[in-house]
Amino acid sequence: MRKIVAVMLALVLCLGVMPAMAEQHEEVTLTFGSIWSSESEATRAPFLKTLEEFAEAYPWIHVEVDWNEANAWKDKGDTLASQSAMPDVFYWNAGGILKALVDQDQIMPLNDYLDDETLSRLIDGALANMTFDGKIYGLPYTNACSVLYCNKALFEANNVKIPETWDELKEAVEAFKAAGVTPMTTGGGDRWPTNMLGDILLLRFAGDEVFRKAVFKEEGGTFMDEGLIAGANAFAELVEMGAFPDDVAALTRDESEVPWHEGKIAMYVMGQWEGGNLAGKEDFIAVAFPAVPGVDSANAFMGGPAEEFAVAAYTEHPEEAYLLCQFCAEHLSKNGYISGAGLPCWKADFSEYEDQIASITRQIVALTNEATSFLLWGNTALEGEDSELLMDQTLLLLSGEITGEQFCENMEAIFE
């Protein structure tokens, strides 16, 4: 009898606990706005791997991914945000673009969910571009920076020294011009690739502090600064020298990169993700953009964690959405680095993957280890129409329609 009672009791307990367990692991479906729709995206495979790992760790949380092309996603995201219809978790840029969504109350602050242990796994300053008024609006999955990629084979074949200073860069441009090789390229038609080049020139000539104040419109910020004018003039000088393909202002980024990947162009300023495309091609190396003597900016970098996963403010499952967001950010940081798609921004032990990591990626990590500062790209740091103005003015520099002085004068409009 006692036995029977015990069994019955056990059964009742089980029955009582079962719904509780079921409630705890209630099936939840979350939507995820992602940008790696193309098979050729370097980040696609590591992201898929991350999703698989998530599905294993949290089998009751189902993820529906909305794949987008990056540019299309920015447009679509803006539109969705204006209707408060963002997916539960989504890819977004940090900085001014993120601020715009925060201002529209689209994004959930993660402070309540993030514990100190989790935060301590992030690299220093990782959240700088996604924290506003002390609230953290998203988690980064990659560190980013732009570097100068060089086609070493072309440098050797034409007996040109890899440039370490601005003057050497100009010499290299002259030497390649003389040899009939296009020295540099950029996708002017898409505007943002050109800004990567413009930003690093402004940074080298003006230094981190001055440029930072200008693009974040801080107290005392101005574009009418000798260093910034010199940087813009340096850009104009490169254009004047014929450093770029003749039709560079019309080329899209896709188009501009084709001859570069074919080994017909000597130098290219791009983000670290280009390393993923160049992995395994031994001809290519990554170096820090040439220094400007007399300016303390040789190891200053443009970039820093600038891409993140965010949680929609109105998600129906905030806890699960946070889990997904945090898990994907940390795991994609690792998977992306191992596959050569990005630099890590969460601390992890990579020693066992040393062989898997492309040499060009290790070169970039070595460069960033020496970094003195990271400054968010100008068109990301600035918001809305200011960002548009910077991109337009840089394009005008590239097409040789304005001088460095005019560039800075026109940019000064953002302070009005």
Binding site: G189, A249, A250, E255, E385, D392
Partner: protein, 320 residues
């Protein structure tokens, strides 16, 4: 019959669903856009009356610092001019040639419409390749005949970029206008043409005195399509130059203002301006054609001619 066709219930069933559907999904959004255009709506504000600013956005889009909207409007007017004075006459010329009964008329007519059915992506990418600086067809040809190619490439050179953006659109829709005109020309009774031929009309005389006057209603349709199309121009510009400086048109500028600069108020004002521009040109066009067309439709005029043909033809055809 009159009773059936005046039955209120019948009229409601036939017309009301369309009117409601159209109102709800076309007119209401436009009215909302008009409302937004009066607000200072940015990422920092909400679309409520609290931010009502009257016509400030309309003034700002023309006089604001660094605004490219006036330039964009100028470009669209240029395009409209090119469309009316180059594209339509060329389409008409083709239509007249074909309608005259050349060999393989149907074959040509079929093929000339092909560019119209291609998507902007296809046509845009094709033209980007044609314009390419190094290996594009255009530059290969110019180099072969020793003509200098524009510095910076067709789509970026200050002097060529605007026209290089327009030409593909003009080219693409020649077939569209031609089809409409050709259709109208073919619907002219052979009796009329026959009679005119007997009276000695041929070639240009026939075209200018008989055919063109008879298809005037269709020409008006073509004109309004091309004018309105010029203000709505978007896809091809987006693909060819992304509406970058020097090639902006109202729709691309509006898109950037709205979705890149996040100035929803000013963006809506630009949208309303485009709508107003289209309305204005339609009204102008109607006024222009009403005077000449005497209020009669193509069908009425044609059937009028049938009854009195062929003796009334030579002088009656162009002056009803």
């Amino acid at each position: 019959m009159k009773r059936i066709l005046s039955n209120k219930w019948h009229i409601m069933v036939f017309v009301l669903p369309t009117v409601l559907f159209f109102s709800f999904f076309v007119i209401v959004p436009i009215v909302l856009s008009a409302y937004y255009s009066l607000l200072n709506w940015t990422t920092k504000t909400k679309p409520t009356l609290e931010y009502f600013v009257g016509f400030r956005n309309y003034i700002e889009m023309f006089t604001g610092k660094g605004t490219s909207f006036p330039r964009a409007v100028g470009h669209s007017l240029l395009y409209a001019g090119a469309s009316v004075f180059l594209q339509l006459p060329f389409s008409l010329f083709l239509a007249l040639l074909l309608a005259k009964g050349v060999k393989a008329e149907g074959f040509y007519q079929n093929l000339y419409f092909i560019p119209v059915i291609l998507s902007s992506v296809v046509v845009g990418q094709l033209w980007r390749k044609i314009y390419n600086n190094d290996y594009g067809l255009l530059n290969l040809f110019l180099r072969a005949i020793n003509v200098e190619t524009p510095k910076g490439g067709w789509l970026a050179n200050k002097g060529t970029r605007l026209w290089a953006t327009f030409v593909p659109v003009l080219w693409q829709y020649v077939g569209y206008h031609m089809l409409l005109m050709y259709g109208a020309l073919k619907s002219i009774s052979p009796d009329i043409i026959e009679a005119a031929t007997v009276d000695g009309a041929s070639g240009p005389t026939m075209a200018f005195h008989i055919q063109i006057p008879l298809i005037k209603p269709m020409l008006k349709v073509c004109l309004s399509f091309s004018l309105i199309g010029s203000f709505k121009l978007y896809d091809m510009v987006k693909i060819l130059t992304d509406g970058n400086i020097g090639t902006e048109v109202p729709a691309t500028t509006m898109y950037r203002e709205m979705f890149k600069s996040h100035n929803f108020g000013t963006g809506s004002a630009m949208a309303m301006f485009i709508v107003a521009e289209c309305l204005l040109f339609t009204v102008l066009l109607n006024a222009l054609f009403r005077e000449r067309a005497d209020g009669r439709t193509l069908r009425e005029r044609l059937s009028g001619l049938f009854r009195s043909a062929p003796d009334a033809l030579p002088k009656g055809a162009d002056r009803p």
